[in-house]
């Protein structure tokens, strides 16, 4: 599959950039950034999202809200790859004066649709964008990536209830289900399961797929875009730290960046 090969190469490059950015910034979230890369690559390069990097405020564009805002290095690297801004800007992550803030700031960087990072607020804003499309009679879709740990925030359920109530078929929520959060396993810290039944009970059409298999991701996202009846939830099973052997499934790398040596090793793996 020629297409997927292309996507795999893009994902590798984005993962490399994420690790370089984090190494240069000296702080940030490694594990959760790496786990969403294939989801982002599917959205931006798999023919799912309509966007124009040279006209980021195009009013008919599809929106992506990264509700788990701490994973923004992955989004920044994806936006640079999509042509929203120069790749050089990536190396300013978290530095004074950089538009690449520690958590996404919609006022500072093109392609960032909402200021997020305080968990739960992103998905609610995504609901607002989806509702706005109905008022404005626009056909754009709103994609929203939430963390599985984020599912512990009560606000998420207020948002899900509203999305189901208003039958927001233009809203597609993707859960980055890597199973880990800072303090440990989601099921130990505060059990979030079952997830599928939660979404279904709020009248979402819900899918459980691998968050790293392009065919599954693209097929499911394509089906979700065609849903005109209800909002969609895609629970994407992912691996925190995906792509780097010594970071994979290691909660220690939630908020820890690679050292120079680790970076070297990781870049070798992602060649």
């Amino acid at each position: 599959m020629e297409d997927f090969k292309n996507l795999e190469e893009k994902a590798k490059k984005i993962r490399r950039n994420v690790l370089i950015m984090l190494n240069k910034s000296g702080s940030g979230h490694s594990g959760g950034s790496l786990s969403i890369v294939d989801i982002l690559v599917s959205l931006y390069f798999g023919g799912i999202m309509n966007y124009d990097a040279k006209n980021p405020n195009w009013e008919d564009r599809d929106r992506l809200v990264l509700s788990k805002g701490h994973a923004c290095p992955a989004l920044y690297a994806t936006l640079a790859e999509a042509g929203y801004f120069d790749e050089e800007l990536l190396w300013t992550l978290r530095k004074l004066g950089s538009p690449l803030q520690g958590h996404p700031d919609s006022k500072k960087l093109p392609g960032i649709e909402a200021s997020t990072g305080s968990l739960g607020n992103g998905i609610s804003q995504a609901v607002g964008m989806a509702l706005a499309a109905k008022v404005l009679k626009k056909r754009y879709k709103v994609f929203c990536i939430v963390g599985d740990g984020e599912m512990q925030e009560g606000l998420v359920y207020e948002a899900l209830m509203a999305a189901g109530h208003y039958k927001l078929s233009n809203l597609i929520v993707i859960v980055d289900n890597n199973g880990l959060q800072i303090d440990g396993q989601c099921s130990d810290v505060m059990n979030i399961y079952p997830l599928k039944e939660k979404f279904e009970s709020f009248n979402f059409r819900t899918y459980e797929i691998s968050g790293h298999v392009y065919k599954n991701l693209i097929d499911t996202l394509t089906t979700a875009k065609r849903n005109v009846i209800s909002p969609t939830a895609i629970i994407a099973r992912t691996v925190k730290g995906m792509g780097v052997s010594f970071m994979a499934n290691r909660v220690e790398y939630h908020g820890v960046v690679p050292s120079d040596e680790e970076l070297k090793k990781a870049l070798e793996e992602l060649k």
Partner: protein
């Protein structure tokens, strides 16, 4: 004198700006009949969104709508829209400086019987502390109507505070200007800065004081942030004694704003009249105003005592 609640003006103005601008949408959290956003619902049902009893989500949804080009007006009781939803107000509206107008009705202790749990007495402090937020506490129905209409063309987030109880309609302005206060009565012995329904009570208190030979200058200051520093400075310079009156805690509200400004630019005697770092309780509005010192008589006495003391 005609009496109406300021929340009534919110409903009327919302309908009028909704007519003028199709991008105006209204959201409420199951209190539309109380906040009067129900008027907008009647006029424009397809642009009204009941978000249920979920104020935090309502505020975030409003932010998402603003990001999509709409002009959202979100209302609930002041205690909920500023308190329960404080975090979304901070993160999703103020931080990105989005043009969302929040209306908090049922503010202060004039809510009455619902009691202390429902009487917003720190909402001004909460909203005023947030960068980008504008805070407006109109004095009467007329001023509320004008402020809501004017808010359509303001930039960034705006908080408008309304009341449940009826109060006299005494202002006669025809436009509302953010950041402007107005001397509604001139005097030389002391300055009284007030907002909300306390402005009219301050005027009544000034009549009582006049009988005692005390001439107070009454300033109506609906724009708490930005504050009309010039008007307050000039009056303070003239009288050298400043009182603030508000249906809010004496910490962080209008009195706080005036104190912060004058202590830096013209240190002068200041006495803050409001809720004295206590919560309210159930009772009629009149009984509560008596107990907590918001009647014209109580205010006149307090000012007189301070001036003589």
């Amino acid at each position: 004198m005609d009496k109406k609640a300021t929340r009534e003006a919110y409903g009327k103005a919302l309908v009028d700006i909704g007519k003028k601008d199709e991008l105006v949408v209204a959201l409420d959290a199951d209190l539309s009949g109380s906040t009067k956003s129900s008027e907008f619902k009647k006029a424009y049902p397809h642009r009204f969104f009941n978000m249920g009893i979920a104020e935090s989500n309502m505020v975030d949804v409003a932010a998402g709508m603003a990001l999509s080009g709409l002009k959202p007006y979100a209302s609930s009781f002041a205690v909920f829209v500023t308190g329960r939803a404080f975090e979304p107000v901070r993160q999703s509206i103020c931080y990105p400086n989005l043009h969302v107008v929040l209306c908090g009705s049922h503010s202060g202790i004039s809510v009455g019987e619902d009691g202390g749990s429902h009487q917003a007495i720190v909402d001004i402090a909460l909203m005023r502390s947030l960068p980008n937020m504008k805070v407006i506490v109109p004095a009467d129905y007329n001023e509320t109507y004008l402020a809501v209409v004017a808010s359509l063309d303001m930039e960034g987030p705006v908080y408008i505070r309304t009341s449940r109880a009826k109060s006299p309609i005494f202002t006669d302005d025809t436009t509302f200007k953010l950041g402007k206060a107005k001397v509604v009565k001139e005097g030389k012995d002391a300055t009284v800065v007030a907002c909300g329904m306390m402005t009219y009570i301050a005027l009544e208190a000034s009549e009582l004081l006049r009988k005692d030979g005390i001439e107070i200058e009454v300033i109506n200051s609906p724009s708490i942030k930005p504050l009309d520093e010039e008007t307050i400075y000039n009056s303070a310079k003239k009288t050298n004694r400043v009182f603030s009156i508000e249906e809010h805690s004496v910490i962080g509200g209008l009195g706080g704003a005036i104190s912060e400004f004058l202590s830096e630019h013209y240190p002068v005697f200041i006495h803050k009249i409001g809720m004295d770092d206590v919560f309210g309780e159930s009772g009629t509005k009149d009984d509560l105003f008596c107990k907590y010192g918001f009647t014209k008589e109580a205010i006149a006495k307090r000012i007189k005592d301070k001036l003589n003391g």
